[in-house]
Amino acid sequence: MLVMRGIVKQFPGVRALDGVDLDVRAGEVHCLLGQNGAGKSTLIKVLAGAHQPDEGTIEFNGAQVRASSPMDAIRLGFATIYQELDLVDGLSVAENIFLGHEHARAGFVNRGAVNRAAGAVLARLGHPEIRPKAEVGRLSPAAKQVVSMARALSHEARLIIMDEPSAALAHDEVANLFRIIRELTAQGVAVVYISHRLEEIREIGDRVTVLKDGRTVAVGLPARDTPTSEIVSLMTGRNVEYVFPPRAAESPGDEVLRVEGLSSPGAFADVSFSVRAGEIVGLAGLVGSGRSEILEAVYGARRAYGSVALSGKPVRRGDIVGTVRRGMGLAPEERKAQALLLDQSVTANITLGSLPGFAKFGWMDRAREKAEAQRLVEALDIRPPDPERPIKTLSGGNQQKAVLARWLLGSRKLLLLDEPTRGVDVGARAELYAVIRGLADQGIGVLLVSSEVPEVLGLSDRVLVLREGTVIHQGDAQDLDEHRVLDMIMDGRAA
């Protein structure tokens, strides 16, 4: 029914899709699998008309089609549940569901009809308790996810695309979703389904396409019969060898960080651990398992209960200025949104966290600043090696290195690294690993979050495995392997 061939999509610095093929049959649930950043969302955005592909063709029911805008795609009969919630907070549930295709006559919305229809769709989804007139901004994330689904169902779609619809849902809610999907497929509607949860794929999926680094690595595998190990190895790509630096020979030093009974309602609960000087502690878990929130809470940037102590002294919540002064640093997850000054030079970005160190009475010592930046650019092999360039002209990996470089200045005791290799290509990764290990070797404690299990295992000395905000395992990295960790975080079975 739907055939996509050789889709290419280039973003600044990233070839998100590099010749992807996909074919979907009527009435089937076609699953898309792949690691974070593999290009799944990008692919379905191309299909939904939200992105324009640079190359490639799309055929629908035998005819070549072009979706040059979301409107076109909707007209073709494609409905999409996007990964990021794409609702308008100020509108009601019913209005969001029918946004863009309101029941209207001469521009006047038939509110009765809209509310009734919304109520019907929500009831069909098993959530009659969500009132069509409620304001979406006041709903919980899970309820919002249901509204997103209701919106996709409200179209008379022939193809429904679902990008991680279950991410915000609990297990029992997922059952509802699957019931709907079965109803739809029974009517000949095709469903493209994206999820990181393998057990879901086994339950609902018919066939599986696996993406890796913007390419299709497997097409049309049977969803139920393909062994997990095969899927995981397709996803993680055994052909790429991660070169992890050797672990430190000497045992770690004094405790630099102690976290006890840390909880943040809705994100994580009762987390306790410690990090010692020269030690790398990794946090493994699925997206949404609360790892970023733990880092933020440790950094003092997020409201949480419990105690956090840096070198024995408590960290005051909200006092990031003090936290940084006392030697903590955070390389956040969202590089662009949380770390970079895109318009500024590499130098300005590197020195942002240690400006007082370059100034006397507020006066910047620019020569020394430049020299230090130059030194770090060379040490981290940031390319091109010109510290005066605007950082937005650098590739993602090089930007990431600059974010790390920010915390190599001044005397640091503890670094919190959230997805330090996100968007970083394989070659640069090895360099980053060496840098991170080098930091530890200098006696800095490192708390590392990564969605890539091999990375956590290869780099860390100790690993905490998280699932839905609770630590389900804590132990030496050498005692774990990737499959065991994946089993734990996907199925929730502690080893």
């Binding site: 939904a48 939200a50 805008s69 979301p70 409107m71 909707i74 999409t80 996007y82 794409d86 609702l87 308008v88 907070d89 100020g90 509108l91 209005e95 946004l99 863009g100 295709h101 309101e102 209207a104 521009g107 006047f108 919305v109 509110r111 959530h127 308790e129 969500i130 009132r131 007139k133 409620a134 304001e135 006041r138 709903l139 919980s140 994330p141 899970a142 309820a143 919106r151 915000a168 609990a170 809610e173 943040s264 309602p265 809705g266 994100a267 970023s292 929130e293 933020e296 940037a301 997020r302 997850e333 969202e334 662009k336 949104a337 949380q338």
Partner: protein, 335 residues
Amino acid sequence: MSNPAEAGPHDRFAVRAPGPLAWLGETRHLGLVIALVLLAIVGLVTKPENFATTSNLVSILSLAATIGVITVGATFVIIGGGIDLSVGATMALASVWATTLATQAYGPAVMAICAILVGTGTGLVNGLLIAYGRLVPFIATLAMLVAARGLAQRMSDRKTQIIQVDNSAIVDLSTTRLLGVPLLVYIFALVVVLGWVLLNRTTFGRRTYAVGGNPEAARLAGINVRRHTMLLYALSGLCCGIAAILIMARTTTGSSTHGDLYELDAIAAVIIGGTLLTGGRGTIIGSILGLLIFTLITNLFILNGLNTSDQLIAKGLIIVVAVLLQRRNLKERAP
């Protein structure tokens, strides 16, 4: 991009009961209504013999009418995520264009149509510059403010243009009364009602919230965000055109000095009424209540013979207090 650190906790299906919610939704208006009532009490106490007379109430509404019509348009623009600084100048230009000798020769109907066309056209230019020229709304409408006033001065040769006796039908809007209330108050009421219907009962209105609240979501839902943005400014211009007719009726003239600083008053009324400058939220009723509060303050000052200096100081304080109070209900991003 949203800051995950600020995301609230998420209880699984904590759909808060709608009953109390709906009530909360109205609380903001309730606050404004309480403020109005308080001001009215002040009026009753200080000037019992003058304040609560029909003629005074009608006078308040007549005073509010012109800027009220503009406020309706401004509410749309601001809910849609924009801002329009050119409203006062646009109204002045429309009033001048409609009262040139050439236009007046065609009679009152043509004059009214002229004012509306000029207003809408000016708004359309703003909209084109912003939606397609991709100028920041602040700058595009600031430039229009300056240019439209200049043009109005040129066109009128800086003179006040009186409406001729033949065309007094326009002036009748202000002098003819129906049930003791001048026609222009009915026009004001009509614009408010139509604006309310447009915002709350039509696809255009619902899409305005979407465009202002989450333009990317609006785009993904198949809404033509640019065209909609353009139409919002045209709508604001249309309201300025109608306001031009009202000010012509009230002052019997067209003049390049009309509507000086109306932009600030209109924006302030909209914000006090609970519309967010960031777009996506707000109500017509709130804006009108906000405007009535300002008008009532002015009226009380007039009745009590107090001076403008004190009025300005009070106005500044009221803006701050009102917005600070609002903030308690709403979460907004820090600067």
